[in-house]
């Protein structure tokens, strides 16, 4: 304030100013000049001025949760869970809630594009007739074995349609892949079920029915298989039985969000889960006075404890609790399977379940129901199979590659060099809804609708007692000039003529879906039946899918499981660094959430960090190395290096560092691009015996850079003045 103005004068001036401002702003609503456009043709089931609700299926991951979307005047406003849906029963995860920011994302691919130069941001807009012609030419001008389809985990109707198409053409079947499948180690779970139970199915763990859950690295409260249904299971574990709170123990080298809910968190050394499980089996067998099954015969309790760097008494105590539990359940997952010995770990743990006698019983292990339209569970490609596919691409054997719903340039380990492989493919056609890294390297981008603008169905792989085909329908009309990929491929098939045209005689996507649904009309297990397909489709849309009324989980048998010597040992690690590297899927972003700003702004549950990648390091270890919060360090693995700020995480082993997966995009829109780093850059080309990537099987060096970057986080900066609690 100028010294020439007294405080009194200032107040006089201020009051004049305030009165003027008040008078001027009181002039009336700013919305005076807004116009309102009613529907030209309103759908007849709408009611003027009221919201309309549509049942559909979430496409943020492949779990297949049922959603009910509130729409108003043709806009989607709010995501709610479908209460009747057997997977999520009216609940949602954060990614399901924020799927609307994908639908209305400012960075969507708005039109079909022809990119003259791969990697360049600008493409030439095309019309859809030309796009159909491009696809038709790609299908007809190449030999069938030179055409390859790479599809994501959703949606299933597209996968079925492409499978039918490639079969008719004589082309190789489409390959399905997604980073979630890699982090979930689905191939390992299926292979272990095959070995132990004799059936190649996805195991289903009845968490809610158990009274003691021991989890070896399984992040079942995070994006892992079916987060919402597993969280419901967790609720029932704790409070499903009156006056009996089920217990939960987690073995994991870092306290994950899941481990933070455990009654006991045991930070074992990575890669020792198999020997720990077998040792627990041995302790229980001995305590029960049973003859020692061959599976546990080689286990040495004290050696296992020292290999795992945990207290042998703790191990014995927990094994005793496990042996005495009425409905015990042991779950394999997460980093435990992502080791060179991952398959043995899964086998050891499933065998331990068999020994505890919980197969096919409440609170035990089942095999997930086979979804409608399926003969068995078909898992997505393992990382090993992807590596073989990349090899095929590198040889130049593929002339045209179609990509939908997957972003291999971001999701595959850099050491696989998918980027180089892509250079040997003359034509790449992407159906990406968002301009992700792979779409940027494609010659053509023919954008598919967003999931909320699409027809479809999803076969629920696990997460429900019933066999579920979750239905999707458009809740709003397409926001941009996009086209359903199934429609595009059907049009191209018809134009191509011959075998393909006669195998796919459908005029549009809905007709194709109805052709699949028509096989289910007479299925009396469903909660509805219909005499003909149009009524069936109407019910299917209304309820958000079809599911059976019974319990379709299969009870596995394991007659010989305990007689085999699993021969588990501690896993082998690549690299000679001083730290075990533990990549984990970001609990809020998962693999595809980075382009949705509100997902970016959700604090990570354990660290509260937003909008960036952090490296978790034990504070004592960081003190030794002179590393403070926010100090940028370089992580060097034999396969790559990256830089990110440190978050001193109190609940991680001193010999382990952890880094979330989900950030580090170079494209994928303004909210995702150039933000954080991608830990797959560090990962080895090393697989377990089931072919899943041993992503936790590498040891790394950590070096200080001397620079720092302040991480945005919730903790310590609360309150409107944004004070830092440490200052």
């Amino acid at each position: 304030m100028s010294p020439e103005i007294s405080r009194r004068d200032f107040l006089k001036l201020a009051s004049v100013g305030a009165a003027t401002t008040a008078a001027l702003t009181g002039c009336g609503p700013a919305s005076r000049y807004v116009t309102r456009e009613p529907y030209v043709k309103m759908p007849e089931y709408n009611y003027n001025g009221l919201s309309t609700y549509y049942a559909t299926t979430c496409r943020e991951c492949s779990a297949g949760c049922g959603l009910v979307i509130r729409t108003f005047q043709g806009r989607a406003l709010k995501v709610e869970g479908n209460r009747d849906h057997p997977v999520n029963m009216g609940k949602t995860c954060p990614r399901g809630q924020i799927t609307l920011q994908g639908l209305y994302n400012p960075d969507r691919v708005t039109d079909p594009l022809h990119r003259k130069q791969r990697g360049s941001n600008d493409g030439e807009k095309m019309d859809w007739d030309a796009a159909v012609q491009v696809v038709t030419d790609a299908l007809t001008h190449n030999q069938p074995n030179e055409v390859a389809f790479l599809l994501g985990m959703t949606p299933d109707h597209l996968f079925d349609m492409v499978s039918d198409m490639t079969k008719a053409m004589g082309a190789p079947a489409p390959i399905r892949y997604g980073a979630p499948a890699m982090f979930e180690s689905r191939a390992t779970l299926v292979q272990a079920a095959q070995t132990v139970f004799g059936q190649a199915a996805l195991p289903s763990f009845d968490i809610g029915g158990a009274d003691l859950v021991v989890s070896f690295g399984a992040n079942f409260l995070e994006p892992w298989l079916s987060q919402v249904s597993q969280t419901r299971g967790y609720r029932n574990l704790r409070q499903g039985t009156p006056n009996h709170r089920g217990l939960f123990v987690q073995f994991e080298s870092r306290m994950s969000q899941t481990a933070s809910k455990a009654d006991e968190w045991i930070p074992n050394k990575p890669g020792t889960e198999a020997v720990l499980a077998l040792a627990m089996g041995r302790i229980i067998a001995e305590a029960r006075g049973l003859p020692l099954p061959p599976a546990f015969a080689t286990a040495d309790v004290n050696q296992a404890a020292s290999q795992a760097d945990i207290n042998a008494d703790d191990l014995k105590r927990l094994a005793t609790i496990l042996g005495n539990a009425q409905r015990p359940l042991v779950i394999p997952g997460g980093q435990a399977l992502a080791q060179s010995n991952g398959l043995q770990t899964a086998q050891a743990i499933l065998s331990l379940n068999a020994f505890l006698g919980n197969l096919g019983k409440a609170g035990g292990v089942y095999l997930s129901p086979i979804a409608p339209l399926e003969d068995a569970y078909h898992r997505p490609a393992s990382a090993k199979e992807m590596a073989d596919f990349v090899g095929t691409l590198k040889k130049g054997a593929v002339k045209v590659l179609f990509v939908h719903g997957v972003n291999p340039l971001f999701e595959l380990p850099k050491s696989l060099s998918f980027a180089d492989a892509l250079k040997n493919v003359p034509q790449v056609i992407s159906f990406a809804t968002f301009p992700d890294e792979t779409a940027l390297e494609a010659d053509y981008v023919f954008p598919d609708h967003h999931g909320l603008e699409s027809w479809g169905y999803q076969k629920v792989a696990t997460g429900s007692n019933a066999s579920v085909l979750s239905g999707a329908q458009p809740v709003v009309s397409p926001f941009h000039n996009t086209k359903a990929t199934v429609d595009l491929l059907l049009a191209a098939s018809q134009a191509a003529g011959g075998q393909i045209a006669s195998a796919l005689p459908f005029k549009d996507e809905l007709e194709y879906i109805q052709s699949k649904l028509s096989t289910m009309l007479s299925n009396a297990n469903g909660f509805f039946t219909a005499p003909e397909i149009n009524s069936f489709t109407a019910y299917f849309q209304q309820h958000g899918g079809w599911w059976s009324t019974g319990d379709d989980r299969l009870a596995p048998t394991a007659a010989d499981a305990l007689n085999a010597n699993i021969g588990a040992s501690v896993s082998q690690f690549d690299g000679d660094g001083e730290f075990f590297l533990l990549p984990f899927v970001s609990p809020t972003l998962a693999e595809g959430g980075a382009n949705k700003p509100w997902l970016q702004e959700l604090g990570d549950p354990t660290t509260t960090v937003m909008w960036n990648t952090w490296i978790e390091m034990n504070p004592q270890k960081a003190d030794e190395m002179g590393i403070q919060d926010n100090d940028i360090v370089t992580i060097v693995s034999p396969f790559g290096a990256l830089e990110a700020p440190v978050y001193r995480y109190p609940a991680i082993r001193p010999d382990t560092i952890a880094i979330p997966f989900g950030q580090g995009h170079t494209a994928y829109g303004q909210f995702a691009a150039k933000r954080g780093v991608n830990p797959v850059d560090l990962l080895p080309q090393k697989y377990n015996e089931a072919g899943d990537l041993a992503y936790a099987g590498v040891k790394v060096h950590v070096q200080k850079t001397g620079r720092a970057r302040k991480l945005s986080k919730m903790e310590g900066v609360l309150g409107v003045y944004g004070f830092d609690a440490k200052q």
Binding site: P94, R232, W611, P650, V720, G722
Partner: protein, 258 residues
């Protein structure tokens, strides 16, 4: 300590003050910290995101957030159960008496704390006086397409039932008052009073663990009243006598993380 400072001692004894109208019970044993409630709240209530830089200043606008605290050092480190923190809708609300323009007022009919956006002039006294730090301030026009033109398409998702707040306005959890009103109108048109379960705020609706229960606490038979009788129940910062309407249930009563 309190005697040294000669603080006034609040007493609250009247029946109405204890009973209230709307209330919530949050079970920390069930909360898995998954953030579904935060996401659902933001989508329902047009809560803007602020971006990395502003979030770094502590300006993020979450109406509900998940807190956790640490104790001990590795390997004896413990995390407290996740604690969803939102406006406690206190009866003796510290935010209310400090507002110079009566923008932070108590609702006589719903017995919640209101924030009247059109009255608020942005002194931020209320947020400063809130012991729970649950009030958030619009430091910028986060939702204004004129200020952030790249957000235009995202605006299609805004709910018409909730005001889009402007710069300089304080805001906070409303117990999804738009849903309360809607349920009241439906009940009135059916000539009945509101039944238990008619109103579910967005957070409780989304919660995959069903850790949040909402309802009438003046009805002793409602689900929320029954849940609040749990022996694990407590109020946040009860010693301040703010009479919060949210009862928390202690997590992990027989676990080592509790």
């Amino acid at each position: 300590m309190a005697n040294d400072l000669q603080l006034p001692v609040f007493t609250n004894t009247s029946e109405q003050e204890v009973s209230g109208k709307w209330g919530m019970v949050i079970d920390q044993d069930l909360c898995t910290g998954c953030q579904a409630c935060v996401a659902a709240c933001s989508m329902e209530n047009n809560v803007p995101f602020v971006g990395e830089e502003d979030a770094n200043y502590g300006r993020s606008m979450h109406w509900i957030r998940i807190e956790r605290f640490w104790s001990g050092t590795f390997p004896e480190v413990k995390m407290t159960p996740y604690q969803p923190m939102l406006c406690q809708q206190c009866h003796n609300a510290p935010c209310e008496p400090v507002c110079p323009v009566f923008a932070s007022v108590h609702s006589a009919s719903e017995d919640t704390n209101l924030q009247v956006y059109n009255r608020c002039v942005g002194t931020r006294y209320c947020a400063n006086n809130c012991p729970y730090q649950v009030r958030v301030f619009n430091w910028r026009d986060y939702t204004d397409a004129r200020a952030r033109p790249w957000l235009t398409s995202l605006q299609n998702q805004l709910s018409p039932d909730v005001t889009v707040r402007r710069r300089g306005v304080m805001e906070k959890c409303t117990f999804c008052i738009q849903r309360i009103h809607q349920a009241e109108q439906v009940a009135a048109s059916e000539n009945r009073s509101i039944a238990d379960g008619d109103v579910t705020p967005a957070c409780a609706q989304a919660c995959p663990a069903d850790a949040i229960v909402f309802g009438r606490i003046d009805d002793p038979n409602s689900r929320v009243s029954q849940a609040a009788l749990n022996a694990r129940g407590y109020h946040q910062l009860d010693e301040l006598r703010t009479t919060p309407r949210i009862t928390y249930l202690h997590g992990a009563s027989n676990g080592s993380n509790g």
